[in-house]
Symmetry: C2
Subunit: 450 residues, 2 copies
């Protein structure tokens, strides 16, 4: 009898696994059970839908269930897996007509994550939203159309919060951003965060180091958001307080989570049951710099690990690539990026002896018109001289420049090796000494003076 | 007595060496002899000066002789070294007042290159130019102002020829480009060249596989350029037929050149006389991919090797970094880039067993507005699976994307390792699978089917 590959969750990891398993092994029976109404869509595009850059939610869909069916992949929407029985190798599924039992040979848990909803009084009020999936995006869109809020508060200065701030500002809404920590975008490193804050102040009131005590719905569509210091009166609240791996189904079945609270997996993506895999925003990954398990819920890793597991299940065992945590976002006129470890404190926790420089350079040759500043923070280990990570910010030339560092992390390059890279030069695109080389050079000088 | 470091030539390599030697060793006596009127300028900016993007030639000067003097570096313009006496360790210099003999302890030959002037009848006619330095740029500028040519012919489809084509077109001049080979920009790889040719056709008449038989000055400021097929009547000719390392001074002194006809050096930049160094456009470099001597006259290597030699002469021996031949240029709306080996024939010459893919991808997520095509040619060695090089072309997102490949070449990454890089993703800047990852994936698939 043909082997049965069952996948729980039809987003990036799940559908990548299904597609790759199919290509690797034409004989597999592949079923994907997705509890929601949507599958195979680009969640990273949701802020741009709300901004108006993308007209229809369906434009975000990569492949429809019919297209998957043509490849002999059974994608079942509105089918919720309610129980995994690992020993007996079956799952229980609830759909419109009741419960079904489905056996599997291999199982992939790609249940994703849910938006964090902090325990704040009034967080369930009308006009308070989280953006996490297609349905919530539609709800927000409907509210925007119906109520035309003139002001909004974003709770959380992570990348989704900031992308939403830009989206709503672009619709003419007066914006506030509330961040619990002293700085927004803390994983990008303090120098980068400060630069972004400076830029954001043109577009929004920033409330840093502020926790929210309560949200109250007033009359006339107003909401009152009470902070440590003062109160904001607004007409909409968007909660972007991080995401939490969706692991309850796995935990109930005795599948182990790691220290990060996401599902622990081995180098092939297997859980403590070797025929049950996990990938995407519900699972841990291996950090490229520390070599240890980490939680890095980003699109590329989910896609890639899904593919690798699909290949393994299809019969060609494939190791999961480590993850550097490379991230990138647009913040109005700025490009903001990070990779690896950017915070000396985090480096010390991982037993590195960090040394950091922050360098200001330019996006074009000094004599070429319209050059823009680029700021780079570069972190290395003093003892081994190995590059640990970087943050960057600038109006142009940042988005792919971060990938030079990411490529260097993959090979554990030293500062010397980074400084020796033969990078491209032409006056319209950078100085002869690329900003990355300048940062490496300054860091090398600092290292040699120790 | 303090040691004397003499440098012949005041451009990228020479002035970088002077500056670094000074920082490394405050006691050195440093003299730079430059035969021309200019030193320490950004030669790569010259086409942009002629385009009008840069107002004054002096804007291209990085540092003046006075600024060097403040650092105790003696920069002598209009001082031509006419003879090197290696055994006796002195040079003969000709200046306005006659000849001087100057002794040295260490000597750097950074005499650069000269523009190639093919042996064509009439190449010395009025209205025929080469662009190679500040003076020639000024001559061209003066001619453009005085004669206001309505059409021009560029001979040579290398990057200087193409940058000049754009510069002159931008001044309203009708352009022709003549290339001897079947394609322009051959070091970028055939697929990239074709794409650029297609783009250039909007701006110029291309005459490929055409040699020039003669140039004749007609009356009324016209020039007649006779090709294999037909004749172009024009009002200006720009010869951009490559450059030739300026080694006559070195050869006369018994300093050895390599197979490339540039000065041969060891890993410290030393010639066959261990106290005589060579760097920049007159010297060979070590190719990062082949490990063999190569001639790669580009700005970054000249700067970098000058610095390294300055440091060595200052007392801290520093190896010269190998060069991948990474190059980048703007061609109207296109960004065009290359690194490593892009031509399977060249790879075979170096005993590789090449395999190539050319992949079309996009600069943004599929659903994000205004995405532009990106084309990548990626070359690897079948036997080792090692990446050998790449060419890229697109309207955005190419300039720094090539550096991902360049960083991979530095570590001799395999196709697998390139495919596993954790590259940045955000919808405004690329698809979740970056074009580089897609190219690596397609190449990997092709490799695994062999």
């Amino acid at each position: 009898m043909n082997k049965h590959f069952v996948i729980i969750g039809g987003d990036a990891a799940g559908m990548s696994a299904a597609s790759k398993a199919r290509r690797t092994n034409p004989d597999l029976i592949i079923d994907v059970f997705e509890k929601g109404n949507w599958a195979s869509y680009g969640a990273c595009g949701l802020p741009y839908y709300l901004k108006g850059d993308i007209k229809e939610l369906r434009d975000l869909i990569a492949k429809t269930p019919e297209e998957f069916m043509q490849k002999n992949i059974h994608l079942h929407l509105k089918h919720e897996v309610t129980r995994i029985h690992p020993e007996e190798k079956y799952v229980i599924i609830k759909n419109h007509s009741g419960k079904i039992k489905v056996s599997f040979d291999s199982l992939l848990i790609s249940t994703g994550a849910r938006a964090g909803r902090p325990n704040i009084e009034g967080i369930d009020s009308l006009g308070v939203f989280t953006l996490h999936d297609m349905d919530s995006a539609r709800e927000i869109q409907n509210y925007l159309k119906e109520y035309s809020p003139k002001s909004a508060v974003v709770l959380g200065g992570g990348y989704i919060g900031i992308e939403m701030l830009e989206a709503l500002f672009s619709r003419g809404i007066e914006m506030h951003l509330v961040e619990l920590l002293p700085h927004i975008l803390s994983p990008f490193g303090i120098d980068i965060s400060r630069k972004v804050e400076e830029h954001l102040k043109q577009y929004a009131d920033l409330h840093l180091e502020q926790s929210v005590h309560s949200i109250n719905r007033l009359d006339k569509g107003k909401l009152s958001v009470k902070l440590n210091n003062g109160t904001i009166t607004t007409e909409m609240v968007l909660v972007a307080a991080g995401i939490i791996p969706e692991v309850s189904l796995a935990e109930e079945a005795g599948i182990q989570c790691g220290l990060t609270r996401a599902i622990a997996t081995d180098e092939l993506g297997r859980t403590n049951f070797p025929f049950i895999y996990a990938a995407g925003d519900c699972a841990e990954v291996k950090n490229m710099v520390t070599g240890k398990p980490d939680y890095v819920p980003l699109a590329l890793a989910a896609n890639r690990h899904g593919r690798s597991i699909g290949r393994t299940v299809g019969g060609q065992p494939t190791l999961l690539a480590p993850v550097a945590g490379t991230a990138l976002l647009k913040v109005f006129q700025l490009e903001v990026a990070r990779t690896g470890i950017t915070d000396p404190e985090v480096a010390r926790k991982h037993k590195f002896n960090p040394i950091k420089v922050t360098v200001d350079s330019h996006s074009r040759a000094s004599y070429y018109p319209a050059s823009k500043p680029i700021k780079i923070s570069l972190l290395a280990d003093r003892d081994s001289s190995r590059i640990l990570g970087a943050g960057m910010v600038g109006e142009e030339g940042v988005s792919k420049r971060i990938d030079i560092i990411s490529a260097a992390l993959s090979g554990s390059y030293t500062v010397d090796q980074l400084e020796s890279l033969d990078l491209a030069y032409a006056p319209p695109f950078g100085p002869a000494w690329d900003p990355v080389l300048t940062a490496a050079r300054v860091l090398n000088q600092k290292l040699s003076f120790l």
